[in-house]
Amino acid sequence: MTTSDPSAPVVLDQVSVPIGGRPVLRDVDLTVRSGEVVTLLGPNGSGKSTLVRAVTGLLPHTRGTVRLFGTPIEQFRDWPRLGFVPQRSSAAGGVPATVREVVASGRVGRRRLLRPSGAADRVAVESALEVVGLVDRASYGVSQLSGGQQQRVLIARALAGEPDLLVLDEPTAGVDLPNQQALADALGRLKARGATILLVAHEIGPMMPLIDRSVVMRDGRVAYDGPPLTQEVASHTHHAHDHPADGPGSHDHVPHVASPLDFERRNRS
């Protein structure tokens, strides 16, 4: 299905990831090409976050290969090229911190030990704040912001590291509509700059026009990989891979039964 370009930002080949000895992801193939915006969809427990944690190196995989920018993840050292927005409800910790401080902490991957921050650091932080539209809130405490604004702070933190690939885990969870729009605007600006984005989402909403491709996870395996789907369609899709050329519009909404045999047929074809 996916043409394997070995130097693409993310290439997963037959990857299995266990958690506590139980295989959660099995035989996952996924390629995210340079400049693409890919959404990972699927119900809770389908392995979306596990997949993201495998791609970011937070969880080890037992089978297959995970490549980032062409390098197997075990040997990958160029971490500043990867920007990560973890799934978090709040950007605040136990001690107050300003928006600028949290965003500036996104520079740690690029800063040398025991050196003060330089002009390049400050420029990157300001431009990250600009992308998410929080320049006027930079000196606010993060705990003073709404949940949606805090998500934007977390995105700005990832952007401050000037990554080539951005991985976001549920940035829209529990975010109100105006902030979803602001998130979508920020991602749109990044896409226009040529950023590669892998996004786990529950609600797509205003981000719909940005998306190049949807990948639907179901019980730890990839159930669909093709043209963008909305969440509503994705939660009904089981057999879309049988007719991948068809867009989401041709789906008949009849409940299908997904069986492991279907996957094997797909892999052989």
């Binding site: 970011t56 190196g57 937070l58 050292r77 971490w79 500043p80 990867l82 990560f84 927005v85 973890p86 978090r88 910790g93 136990g94 001690v95 107050p96 911190a97 300003t98 401080e101 949290v102 500036a104 902490s105 996104g106 520079r107 740690v108 991957g109 800063r111 030990l113 025991l114 921050s117 000196s139 606010y140 405490g141 003073q144 709404s146 977390l154 933190r157 990832a158 590291g161 991985v167 109100d176 509509l177 105006p178």
Partner: protein, 334 residues
């Protein structure tokens, strides 16, 4: 002898230096513990250090250095248990609390020392500090401050979001262990001043005081170190001044003075937080129907006393459950 004569005494000078350094080091590392929501970690390590002191008494070596070794081992163990996630963080702490204290009391007994010897370490004995103790305190404080302030960006990133820090390429476990080891070191630094059972107070109370008024991490850290110094030196001087009349131990005085500073700033913090909540801008939502007020007897303005909350390109005046925005000659309900 008058109060001022006290400062010419050698033991008082040594005690002042030790108190000042403790007041600087303990809150510096405490800020990172509070950021990681591990405020009680210091207490856990303090209890483990009791065993270290007892081993020192048993073997006849310096209790300060055996306490450092055992506290560091305990801190590393605690961090590894927490990281493995087999036991809940606070259960792991509780296990070490009890093990450390029980072990300490048991070994002190075997060493043939009484409770009085141990008490000097449990509640501090600023008056018994030797020149060698002052030097080791200086060295340990310099180490703690150099590392915490020098690696501030890295430690802040790790303490506020370990997953993010790991993906950014930081060795999160190394930094977490570093914080644990530094906490153990500053606890043994503070052991002489406030004692092992009260040491955590100097790590946490100044931070709690500072964050009532501070908005940024750096000001919280600087404020906590200031509060720590004022509390440690002030508490020592206060206890010395009072000791002409009654027996006042410096350790508890220092902790109570820090708590008094917290109590003093707390209402201010409550007021500041309430104000920032009230003045937070209203979200901009388009397409709400236009509704103007009926007859409005009051004219809103800069000094009318009603909170003027930003709302898009204008301000809403908040009073009696209404949000009034100026619209030409009348007010709109927003």
């Amino acid at each position: 002898m008058t109060f001022w004569d006290l400062f010419s005494l050698g033991f008082m000078q040594r005690a002042l230096i030790a108190a000042l350094l403790t007041g600087l080091a303990a809150p510096a590392i405490g800020t990172f513990l509070v950021q990681r929501r591990l405020a009680l970690l210091g207490d856990g390590i303090g209890h483990v250090a009791v065993t270290g002191v007892a081993i020192g008494l048993l073997t006849g070596t310096s209790p300060t250095w055996t306490a450092v070794v055992v506290a560091v081992l305990g801190a590393v163990l605690m961090e590894l248990i927490r990281e493995r996630g087999h036991t809940n963080g606070d259960v792991a702490l509780a296990l070490l609390f009890y093990g450390g204290l029980a072990g300490g009391v048991l070994i002190t007994g075997i060493a043939g020392e009484g409770a009085a010897t141990l008490q000097a370490f449990l509640f501090g004995s600023l008056n018994a500090i030797s020149v060698g103790d002052v030097w080791s305190t200086i060295v340990l404080t310099v180490v703690v401050l150099t590392v915490t302030l020098g690696l501030l960006p890295q430690l802040f990133a790790v303490a506020s979001d370990p997953d993010f820090a790991r993906v950014a390429g930081l060795r999160v476990r190394t930094y977490n262990l570093l914080i644990a080891v530094l906490a153990a070191v500053s606890i043994t630094v503070a052991m002489r001043t406030v004692g092992l059972l009260l040491v955590s107070a100097l790590m946490v109370v100044p931070v709690a005081t500072s964050q009532q008024v501070a908005r940024s991490f750096r000001t919280t850290l600087a404020g906590a170190m200031l509060v720590g110094c004022v509390a440690a030196v002030g508490g020592l001087v206060l206890s010395a001044a009072l000791s002409f009349r009654v027996t006042v131990a410096p350790g508890p005085t220092i902790v109570l003075l820090a708590l008094a500073m917290f109590t003093a700033t707390w209402p201010l913090g409550v007021w500041l937080r309430r104000r920032s909540r009230l003045m937070a801008p209203f979200p901009e939502v388009t397409a709400t129907p236009h509704r103007s007020t009926v007859e409005h007897p009051h004219e809103h303005g800069e000094a009318c006393g009603h909170p003027a909350v930003p709302h898009g390109d204008h301000v809403d005046y908040v009073h009696d459950g209404h949000r009034h925005a100026v619209h030409g000659e009348h007010y709109d309900e927003h």
